[in-house]
């Protein structure tokens, strides 16, 4: 299983990596520091990723732009979770517009939450 994390926050990336590996050390983690990096990767490889945790506020290409680019290029990633520190209502509403967004997670993301998500897949 592979979990992909797109977030510009280095601390968050490290914490998530440690947490996931504690749950299941077989899970491989792919880290991108902005939407563009991730988009270019998927565009190039067309790799299917099991689970994608997407931050909204990022430099270069934010979460929304990333989702739009995916739709334009018809890259199908079925399990996308928005993981953001924003608790703005408008963001939660906007997330519903994207079909492939499975859920909206607010930071900090707990171990239980990750277990729940990984179990579903």
């Amino acid at each position: 299983m592979e979990i992909c994390i797109i977030d510009d926050d280095r601390v968050y990336q490290l914490l998530m990596e440690k947490m996931i590996h504690k749950i299941d050390s077989t899970i491989s983690i792919k880290a991108f520091y902005n939407g563009d990096e991730a988009f270019q990767y998927y565009k190039r490889t067309r790799c299917e990723c099991h689970l994608l945790l997407l931050d909204i506020n990022m430099p270069h290409m934010d979460g929304w732009e990333f989702l739009n680019h995916l739709a334009e290029e018809e890259i199908e990633i079925s399990q996308i979770y928005l993981a953001t520190s924003s608790i703005a209502y408008s963001d939660i509403e906007k997330a519903k517009e994207f079909k492939n967004v499975k859920g909206y997670l607010t930071k900090p993301i707990t171990k239980e939450k990750i277990i729940e998500i990984t179990k579903q897949n």
């Binding site: 601390v11 490290l14 430099p59 270069h60 924003s86 703005a88 993301i109």
Partner: protein
């Protein structure tokens, strides 16, 4: 009034000129006709006389021939002796022929048988012919015997040839028939000597005829029977020969012809006479008609005058030299309320009150206005037209008096209304204008001249006005005018105009209301309307709009700020929570250290964020800080000295082209912060492969003073970042120390001071930041 008609008969003539003319024509023509007929008759009678004379002569000539013939035959008969034999026939015959030139031959015919002929050669063919048995001659021969008298037969065709008249004298010896003594007269000879031939030569229409004794039919020896009318001809009858000579006068036609000129003359005369009569009679009729017409007109005008006098809407008064009322019409009495009796006892000057002049003086005017004192005490405004009338060397007056009370009141009302309207226009500061399209003539009210600051003598036309419209509004203005002209419908629109006041150009906002006026053909000929200066209102509105926009923008910024705050603070707090969570079940010292260093990182960023936020809050708080006129060049130099180290290390070529005297209205701390931010950014994002250059230029716009800071650095992908360029926490590059707060703060500071910031950039070419300082 009536014109009496005592000459009815004459009038009848005058009234029927055509009939009388016809009558005159008939009479004259009838007289001419009578004369004509008389003339004709006389001519005819004369002709008849002439004819008779001619015939008389012919008759006597024929008689002469017959008599000579008789003598000849007798002489011939005497040659016959008692034995019945002729003696010396040849000699006697010869002698007889010689003495009678019109006798062509002689014969002796004993017992009806031709025995002796002379001249012999010519007539020998006849010898031996028994004329008593010869069918052709026997009847006439017997007739002669019966009558015992000479009888002329023929003219007939002779056996020996030729046509001749044959005169036969029966000869009796001892009372017993012996035979005939005969003379032959050739027809030609006969016609010549009898004068008949002459008739033909004179051109007379005659016939020489005889009833054929054998057939009983009429024979014509000269001319043919044709259309000769025997009944109408004059006739002579020669008994011895049973000849009938007819003479026809073909004179009717000639008679007509001879009298015709007279007839024509008569006709012309009659016509001329009739015409003369007609013209003569017509004149008085015309005159009479004219008189009648005039009389009718006169009557009419008298009636009209009376009607006018009685029924006129005007009061009419005739006053004498002592102001006594001589005559007055009912209307005037009605106006005053007095009766004629009452009025005739009054002086006219008591009836009216005149302003200023005395009544006598005012009578010198043709027209004057006054007040009328009515019986019930009320006053009426009157307008009087005065005509002076000299009667028997006395000066009297006819006054036409019009009650103008209503009009006067209406006039006063109108005046009142006008003054009120003028006041309304004055108070509302409305300018009124009219534009005549055909002549391009424009008329303005006083207020219009004030609005445009024009002098009264300045020329006005559409072109002048267009030039006064603000250039930015000119297109719209022209479109508005065109629309009005096309649709013929009024409109209301706003525009800006320029005006010179005290040598300076001012911009005015005006509101124009336009109405169209069409002429009777539906053609647009005038446009008019009002104009009002709405500059104050408009500016207030614009200010209001600005404030509103500012509030909206501020609100946006605050929203953005709160969003950023929540997001950024939450991201740190969530990280701390994450670390703490992790620390709970830590299993190695190494992990512990990792966590602690992470913790340090998080707290550092948290601190940084808080400092940034503090700065942002500071801007928002400080918008009403001290604002001064700042020396731009001085501030740039200040920044240059702050960044001296960076400039030197990175070999930056900083070029400042800013005039030294430029000042901007700004907060000094902000200006420092803005310049520092933009210039340090330009250094930070330089292109390491190039010789870095930074140029600072200055120019002046309409509303802003513009400072342009351009670099040849790595540039910004505006397509990717444009919309969020000045948002909080945006970084465009992967530089570790890039902090998005800079542009956000700069933008906010510029906006707080009424300015703005714009950017132009191209990746790998460079960026230009334009700072707009409000003038």
């Amino acid at each position: 009034m009536k014109i009496r008609d005592n000459q009815k008969f004459n009038n009848w003539f005058y009234n029927h000129p055509k009939f009388v003319a016809t009558l005159a024509f008939s009479v004259v023509f009838f007289l001419c006709l009578l004369i004509f007929i008389k003339d004709y008759t006389i001519y005819n009678e004369k002709e008849a006389q002439l004819r008779e004379d001619i015939l008389d002569k012919v008759e006597s000539d024929i008689d002469q021939i017959l008599k000579s013939s008789y003598v000849t035959t007798l002489s011939l008969a005497l040659t016959v002796n008692n034995n019945g034999e002729p003696e010396n026939f040849e000699e006697v015959a010869k002698m007889l022929l010689k003495s009678n030139s019109y006798i062509d031959g002689v014969e002796l015919v004993p017992d009806g048988i031709v025995k002796y002929v002379y001249p012999y050669e010519e007539n020998k063919a006849a010898l031996g012919l028994n004329i008593l048995q010869y069918e052709y001659s026997k009847r006439e021969a017997y007739k002669a015997i019966e009558k015992r008298k000479m009888h002329f037969a023929g003219p007939l065709n002779l056996k020996q040839g030729g046509t001749a008249v044959v005169g036969r004298l029966p000869v009796f010896i001892d009372n017993e028939f012996w035979g005939f003594s005969v003379v032959l007269i050739k027809l030609d000879t006969f016609l010549e000597y009898s004068g008949i031939k002459e008739l033909a030569e004179s051109g007379l229409n005659y016939r020489f005829t005889k009833l054929n004794p054998n057939t009983g039919e009429r024979e014509f020896f000269t001319g043919d029977k044709g259309d000769f009318n025997i009944e109408k001809a004059t006739k002579i009858y020669i008994e011895d020969a049973e000849w009938e000579i007819y003479l026809l006068m073909d004179t009717h036609y000639e008679a007509y012809l001879a009298a015709l000129p007279f007839l024509i003359f008569g006709l012309v005369l009659s016509v001329l006479f009739a015409l003369l009569v007609f013209l003569l009679l017509k004149k008085p009729a015309q005159l009479k008609r004219h008189i009648k017409l005039q009389a009718r007109k006169l009557l009419h005008s008298e009636v009209k005058y009376k009607a006018i006098f009685k029924e006129a809407g005007l009061g009419i008064v005739h006053i004498d030299e002592n102001e006594k009322v001589v005559e007055v019409n009912p209307r005037f009495l009605e106006m005053t309320g007095y009766t004629f009796c009452e009025i005739s006892k009054m002086k006219f000057s008591n009836l009216i009150s005149v302003k200023g002049d005395s009544f006598q003086k005012i009578l010198n005017h043709e027209k004057f206005e006054a007040k009328l004192n009515t019986k019930n005490g009320a006053k009426k405004y009157i307008r009087t037209t005065n005509s002076t009338l000299h009667l028997k060397l006395k000066k009297t007056h006819i006054l036409l008096i019009e009650d103008v009370t209503k009009r006067k009141r209406a006039e006063n009302k109108l005046k009142d209304l006008q003054s009120r309207m003028q006041m309304a226009i004055r108070v509302s500061k409305l300018g009124y204008w009219e534009w005549e399209l055909e002549t391009d003539k424009i008329s303005w009210s006083d207020r219009m001249y004030e609005i445009f600051n024009f002098k009264k003598e300045d020329e006005l036309n559409s072109n002048v006005i267009i030039h006064k419209v603000h250039p930015e509004d000119a297109k719209l203005y022209k479109r508005q005018i065109k629309k009005i002209l096309d649709t013929k419908k009024g409109s209301t629109f706003e525009t800006r105009i320029k005006r010179n006041k005290g040598g300076q150009e001012e911009i005015l906002h005006i509101l124009a209301r336009v109405e169209c006026e069409e002429d009777e053909n539906g053609k647009l000929h005038k446009i008019k309307g009002t104009l009002v200066d709405i500059t104050e209102k408009k500016e207030a509105l614009i200010n209001l709009q600005h404030s509103y926009q500012m509030v909206v923008e501020q609100n946006d910024r605050l929203l953005n700020f709160s969003y950023i705050v929540s997001h950024n603070l939450r991201s740190h707090s969530s990280n701390i929570q994450g670390i703490v969570e992790h620390l709970k079940d830590i299993d190695s010292i190494e992990d512990m250290r990792d966590m602690l260093s992470l913790m340090e990182e998080v707290t550092n960023s948290l601190n940084e964020t808080l400092v940034d936020l503090n700065e942002v809050v500071h801007i928002h708080k400080n918008t009403k800080g001290i604002v001064n006129n700042l020396d731009l060049y001085h501030f740039i130099n200040k920044i240059r000295s702050i960044l001296k180290r960076e400039i030197k290390i990175n070999h930056i070529n900083l070029e400042v082209n800013v005039p030294k005297d430029v000042q901007v209205w700004f907060n000094s701390a902000y200006l420092e912060s803005v310049l520092l931010n933009i210039i340090s950014n330009a250094i930070k994002y330089r292109d390491p492969h190039k010789n870095s250059e930074i140029k600072i230029n200055y120019k002046e716009g309409k509303r802003y003073k513009i400072l342009e800071i351009s670099d040849n650095g790595i540039g910004i992908d505006l397509e990717l970042n444009g919309g969020n360029l000045f948002g909080m926490y945006k970084t465009f590059t992967d530089f570790k120390n890039s902090r998005g707060i800079g542009l956000f703060v700069t933008n906010n500071q510029m906006q707080a001071m009424g300015g703005k910031i714009e950017v132009e950039s191209k990746i790998n070419v460079g960026s230009t930041f334009k700072l707009y300082f409000k003038k």
